[in-house]
């Protein structure tokens, strides 16, 4: 597993940063020749998590990179914040569960839209989430 051309980092501190994350992920996904549907799924998942980083994490950053496993190219998007973290991850990953005013589809929905989804969080320890979508 190698990381390609480098990692692009975007801060997520305001509403418009969520849009910037979407645009960056889209352009990297287009460059990696993901299909239109896979681009759309990845950008949608990234949009959910960028908003979570802003609203629940109190802001943070996104890192976008192209990766390869030798056979296929993929896009990896990493989100990190130093917010309150998630105390009960199983509950937070449940469809329809929300601690805020959302629909409760952000985490569980985003996981369904990508190939790999890793989350590292604990109460008081911030949240780090990594998404990967592979080309077909």
């Amino acid at each position: 597993m190698t990381t390609g051309d480098g990692v692009e980092v975007l801060p997520i501190v305001a509403d418009e940063d969520v849009v910037r994350v979407r645009q960056l992920v889209r352009s990297v996904a287009v460059a990696a020749k993901l299909s239109l549907i896979d681009q759309t799924k990845l950008v949608t998942a990234a949009s959910e998590l960028a908003r979570n980083t802003l609203v629940y994490g109190g802001g943070g950053r996104a890192e976008v990179s192209t990766v390869s496993n030798g056979r296929r190219t993929g896009i990896r998007v990493h989100f990190a914040d130093d917010g309150p973290g998630i105390a009960d991850l199983d509950l937070a990953m449940t469809d329809g569960y929300t601690s805020g005013s959302g629909l409760g589809l952000g985490l569980s929905g985003a996981r369904r839209l990508v190939d790999e989804f890793e989350i590292d969080t604990a109460a008081g320890a911030g949240t780090r989430i990594t998404l990967t979508k592979w080309s077909r």
Binding site: D15, R51, G102, G109
Partner: protein
């Protein structure tokens, strides 16, 4: 901040979202539309999302909320122009856009609203399942 323009076509309001939608802009559209429905007495709202390359849960919720608010204000909402990739993603995300009528094009949407209004005026039961195929009905096999 910018606003999304709302056009008036007879007793129908037409909104075409042509920008990458920030959350605040979406919330402002919700308020502007409610005001305009009351100010104009409009009976229908058509929201064209053909330029949107994603609809995430926030935007999806905005569309549902607009449909609910306008219904309370005696106006029917139709969301038109959803791209197939957006429809597939929306369903996989888990959003059903409950209570939101959809049509493939602005023209279909306008026809749907005029038909619904005419039926209402002559006292026919509202036909809740329009003949228009909803874009969300695309086969989900292409993942």
């Amino acid at each position: 901040m910018d606003r999304i323009p709302i056009l008036t076509l007879g007793d129908i309001l037409l909104v075409s979202i042509q920008v990458d939608l920030e959350d605040q802009l979406a919330l402002r559209l919700q308020e502007d539309l409610s005001d305009r429905i009351v100010a104009t007495g409009a009976h229908g709202v058509v929201i064209d999302i053909s330029a949107l390359d994603i609809v995430d849960s926030f935007i999806g919720r905005m569309l549902s909320t607009i449909a609910s608010i306008s219904r309370v204000l005696d106006a029917e909402t139709v969301v038109v122009g959803m791209r197939p990739a957006v429809a597939i993603t929306l369903v996989e995300l888990g959003l059903s856009l409950k209570g939101v009528r959809t049509a493939l094009t602005v023209e279909h949407g306008l026809r749907l609203l005029r038909g619904a209004r005419a039926a209402e005026l002559i006292g026919l039961p509202d036909d809740d399942e329009p003949a228009e195929p909803a874009p969300a009905g695309e086969p989900a096999a292409a993942s």
